[in-house]
Every structure is written in structure tokens, then in C-alpha cells.
Symmetry: C2
Subunit: 347 residues, 2 copies
């Protein structure tokens, strides 16, 4: 069991090397936060992959959100309680069991790293890969600051450039076609990519670079603290929002490499700052508020996967408006009338 709060990371100095933040999440914690990650673009975030949850209700009773022992692929029987508890951040009940949908392992996988002349080109490439209906399994963006930090941290000798990590899944034959389509779109956007890694060890080596992004970011300013925030916007607005955010980071003199699940329109800034410096901490705070509002202005959300927790309650109000917030509050009051479950979070 796991009562999750918002996942926004605010760790101390980099001491737990080799352990990727998030990799130790429990399945019920991931369900409670509505988590997602690199594979979500193809396989979905937690919500569509949870078929049932066992929940300890505030009065101590056990609820099975789809009924005890049930796991059909789809249901039209009453309100979707499973989707309500996924992403509820522990504020409606305590999740103690999750029934998940499984996906077949792909016959073959291939990974490449592509470097682009600009952030805009990398993001435009992402949009075009999706529009071409390439069933991409993962498509991860790193801005040139993040690519450089990861490259040095993992000793990879990547170009200092806006970068995409792309993974394809399929049969051997369909993989060849996807690779060709992907390469064409990369080249059309002025990008160049390394040879496809198909063996497991080589693929894992490329992904370990991405998975160490947090530590690579912290290593940019030894002794400083990291704070990872996320937003998510409609894909069509992603290039503008990413470019504006980069300009904001530069104008604000903030170390904040960008990394993102751009296939979903979702990206992070890993903000590295001296928490002993009140002026810098204030600058970081002001930047995250602007980032959230920029996502909202683009028709997006203040959080695509980290959750609201304590830090984004004001942004949530702006995102939903009074009718939405009143509806959330009515649900919270109905299911947890004594405000026992993770009080103060989200609402």
C-alpha cells in the first residue's frame, strides 16, 4: 500500500546515485498519482492500464472499484470509480491492490538518438512522426543543455544539440519500415541520427543515459538542489511552448535542463538551484508559476504526470475554474467527509 502525494521532486543533494527517481515507485503509488513515463505515448499512462483497484475507504471498508475480482477490458456499469481513484493522490482512499492490463512484449525493438539544429526542429519532428502514424513506442526530448549534461554524465560523446531518443517496437519486418519512416522525418527536420541499437544491452546503454538525466542535471551544479516540474500541452502547441520556456530559462538565468515525453506533449524542467539563496529560490518559484500558466494559456495542464500535491493547488484552480474545483470538492466531501485522507493535498 502507498498513499501518494504529488510526485514533484524536491530531493536533497545527489547522494543516491544509481537509483533513478521514480524507479522505486510502487504500482499503487503510480496508480494514486496517475503516473506515466516514456512508454505512455504507445501504451498509455496508468489510468487506461488499471482495470481494478482495492481501496481502503476513510471509514475502513474495502472498495473494489470495478467490483471484487473483476477485470474485463471494458465496462459500462456505473460511474468509472477506477478512473476516479487513479490520480486521486491518496485524498479519497488508500490504494492497496491494483489489477493491471498487460501488453505483449514486442518481437523486436530498436533505439536511436537523433540530434537537431534547434529545439523547434526536434519538437516538429515529434509531431510529424505522430502524424505519420508511426506507432512509436517512446519519443523523448532533451534540450541541448540536458543532452550535454547527460552525454558528459554517461560518457557518451553526444552532440550538444536538441536531441530525441526514439524507440520502435514491432515485428522484425514492421520495424524496418518504421525505421525508414522515422529516419526520413528526422532528416526532413534537419536532424541526424546514430545507427539503430537493436540488441538489449546496447538499447539499455542508450536508455540509461536518459534515466540518469536527474543526476546529470544535478551534476551541473554540485552542492545544489534539484526540483523537477512538469506540464503537458496539446501536441500542436508544443513547439511554441518549449521554445518560449527555453527563452524564459535563459532570461531568468536558471539552470533548468528540459527533458520530456514529447509524444504526449508532456515535458519537464529539472531546476537546479541553491536553496540557501532566497533570491534564487524565489526566482525558481516564479519561473514554475510562469511555466504552469504558459501551459494553461496553450490549452494544456499544469501537470501531465507529477500531480498537484501541495505545490500546484493554485494552478489547479486556474486550470479548472470554479465549477471544476467545486465539483472536485463535492466529491472529496462526499467520499471523505472527515477529511482524513491525505488532508490538504490537491484541494
Amino acid at each position: 500500500g502507498h498513499v501518494a502525494t504529488g510526485q514533484e521532486r524536491h530531493y536533497g543533494n545527489c547522494t543516491g546515485l544509481g537509483h533513478y527517481p521514480g524507479a522505486d515507485a510502487s504500482l499503487c503509488g503510480m496508480a494514486a498519482t496517475g503516473a506515466s513515463g516514456t512508454n505512455a505515448v504507445r501504451y498509455g499512462a496508468m489510468r487506461p492500464n488499471v482495470l481494478n483497484l482495492r481501496v481502503v475507504l476513510p471509514d475502513g471498508r474495502l472498495l473494489h472499484t470495478a467490483g471484487p475480482g473483476r477485470h474485463p477490458r471494458k465496462r459500462a456499469a456505473g460511474y468509472d470509480l477506477t478512473s476516479l481513484f487513479v490520480g486521486s493522490e491518496g485524498t479519497l482512499g488508500f490504494l492497496t491492490q491494483a489489477t493491471l492490463r498487460l501488453h505483449p512484449l514486442p518481437e523486436a525493438s530498436a533505439v536511436t538518438i537523433a540530434s537537431f539544429p534547434s529545439v523547434g526542429a526536434a519538437v516538429a519532428c515529434t509531431v510529424q512522426v505522430l502524424q505519420a502514424a508511426v506507432p512509436v513506442a517512446r519519443i523523448e526530448f532533451l534540450d541541448e543543455v540536458m543532452a550535454d549534461a547527460c552525454s558528459r554524465f554517461s560518457e557518451m560523446e553526444l552532440p550538444v544539440a536538441a536531441t530525441l531518443l526514439l524507440e520502435l517496437h514491432g515485428s522484425q519486418r514492421s520495424l524496418a519500415e518504421q525505421q525508414q519512416q522515422t529516419e526520413e522525418i528526422v532528416h526532413q527536420n534537419g536532424g541526424s541520427s546514430v545507427a539503430w541499437a537493436e540488441g538489449q544491452e546496447e538499447r539499455e546503454r542508450l536508455w540509461s543515459m536518459r534515466h540518469n538525466a536527474w543526476y546529470a542535471a544535478l551534476a551541473l551544479r554540485p552542492g545544489c538542489q534539484g526540483y523537477s516540474t512538469d506540464v503537458c500541452v496539446p501536441i500542436s502547441r508544443l513547439p511554441d511552448v518549449v521554445v518560449e520556456t527555453k527563452q524564459d530559462l535563459q532570461a531568468s538565468n536558471i539552470t533548468g535542463p528540459m527533458v520530456g515525453h514529447v509524444g504526449d506533449g508532456n515535458f519537464h524542467c529539472i531546476l537546479v538551484f541553491n536553496s540557501q539563496d532566497p533570491e534564487e529560490a524565489q526566482r525558481i518559484h516564479a519561473f514554475t508559476e510562469r511555466l504552469g500558466r504558459r501551459a494553461l494559456a496553450a490549452g494544456g495542464t499544469c501537470t501531465g504526470e507529477h500531480g498537484v500535491g501541495l505545490g500546484k493547488r493554485a494552478l489547479l484552480q486556474e486550470e479548472l475554474g470554479p465549477e471544476g474545483l467545486d465539483t472536485l470538492r463535492s466529491i472529496k466531501a462526499a467520499l471523505d467527509p472527515h477529511n482524513l485522507m491525505n488532508p490538504g493535498k490537491v484541494l
Copy 2:
């Protein structure tokens, strides 16, 4: 705008020929019932394809479930109100606008019809196609009664046998591979299939047979009434549940051809009966209760896509148990305290 009730069909005699039941549904009606259909196995039912809903709340205010004007692909900002209102059958609010996720049109499509020596073989083939990770776009089952009725109604000369309609989507090259994989699995299960239809006109001719299933069923007993019910079970339990249901139909002397979105574990019986005969109407009612309970006993749901409406309220209680039902009632009471919205439905 559209306040939907349960979609269970209980039409009069077959008079509106040429108009497939359900084909005139509004998008908000489909959202309100959590509808799905033949494409759901690949593209999902309504819920994962709705990004935002505009809802008239019982007090007259307008709620945008994902916030006004927002449509990111994923969100972790507060409870998932969109998924709550999808499938709420008009009991929480009145849906007046839906923002939907779109999928690229496939480059190429191909359809075949496969005939099998038994119902069990056809359903086993379905399970194996999914397990082999063939990204099947539609996989529809017709039992031999339905296949025969459709064949005669649409003048197709199909074998009187358990039948699958299979549609594949992809690039030309990936289609060839999917076709080969599919044919292998069909043959391994003792099935034989017709040549793949790839042109639009020919594909539509095959699907029109399926889309006329309702009228083909009614034509089995002219002057009688039709009632279509649905259940959904975990795929692994589907062969047993389908075979038991066929035996039940025969033992109960009911005309009830079976047709189903078997890739989701979801199937229908189109029950054709003389509504003037109280004994027969009672037999139909008892059969639908047994069908619902059989699905529940197999870890499934009493409805995969038709909804609860009035007719399945008792089954919903058995499906969810008291904790689940109390939770639904708490939500209903919180959001519609005066019970104004579609009163008496679902709960």
C-alpha cells in the same frame, strides 16, 4: 446535447430498415453511455478518446471537465472528471460538448471473413490473434445462427458456421505481415477465410452485412420484437462463457443470435421474441439475468457498452457489492442532491 439512458435496445418491429441502430447516436450521447463498438479493440472505447466535456450541472452552471478550452493528451491535475461523466448515463449532468482525440487514418485496410468448425475455435482464434500482438483493428464474432441470418439477409452465401470478421490497418507493407500472421492463426484453429478485401467498396460490403445484424436477427421471426443485451468478460474466460451461453440459448428455446466485439471480451445476444406472449417474455428476462450473472461469475461485467439504464440496476448491485454501490450513491448525491438528472437510472 443528449441525455442518454442505458442503450439496451428494445425497439418495436423492424420498420426502420437501412438505419443501423446506434448509427444515429450523437457524440455526447456516446460519451454519456461510455459507448464503444467494432473499432474499440484497437482505438479504445469512448472514455480514453474523450479529452474534455462541457456539462450542464444540475444547478445550471457549466462545467468543463478538463477545464475550459483544454485538451492535453494526458493530465494529472485533480480527479478525472472527464472519465466520471463518460458513462454516467445522464445522471450527473447534461453533456453538451465533447473534445475528442483523433487517430490518423490508416494508409491501408484489409478485411476478411473466416469460418470455424465451432464457436470455441472462433473465440480461441481471437484470443491467439491478440496474444500474438497482431494490432487488429476490428475482430467481430458471429455465431452460426447470426452468420446464417446475416448471410441470408445480405445475400452473401457465407457458410453456416461460427464466423469472425477481421479488419487490419497499417501501411501496405505491415498489412501484408499482419495478414500472414492472421491467416496462420485462423488455419491453426481449423478456420478458413475468404480472400482479403482491400478496396473500400468491397470492405464496406462485408461490413454492411455485420451492420445489418440487428435487422437480420429480426428477420428470423417476422412480427416479433428484438432486445439486444451485452456483457463483457476477461478474454481468457471468453471461450467458456460464449459456449455456455449458446447452450443456455438452445436449452431455453430462445432465438438469440450472438454477435460480439470479442477482441474486448464483449458480446451481444440479439433476443427475438413475441412480446405478446408473457411466458416467452418471462423466459427472455430469466435468460438475460442468467447471462449477466454468468459474466459476473467469470470476473466480468453485466454490461460492456450498453449501460445500466433501468434494466441492469440489480445486476449492478451484484457486480459492485455494497461498498461500490454506496460510493456511486455518494457521488450521485453530492453532484445531484435534488436527483434532477435522469432520475431512477443506474442507481
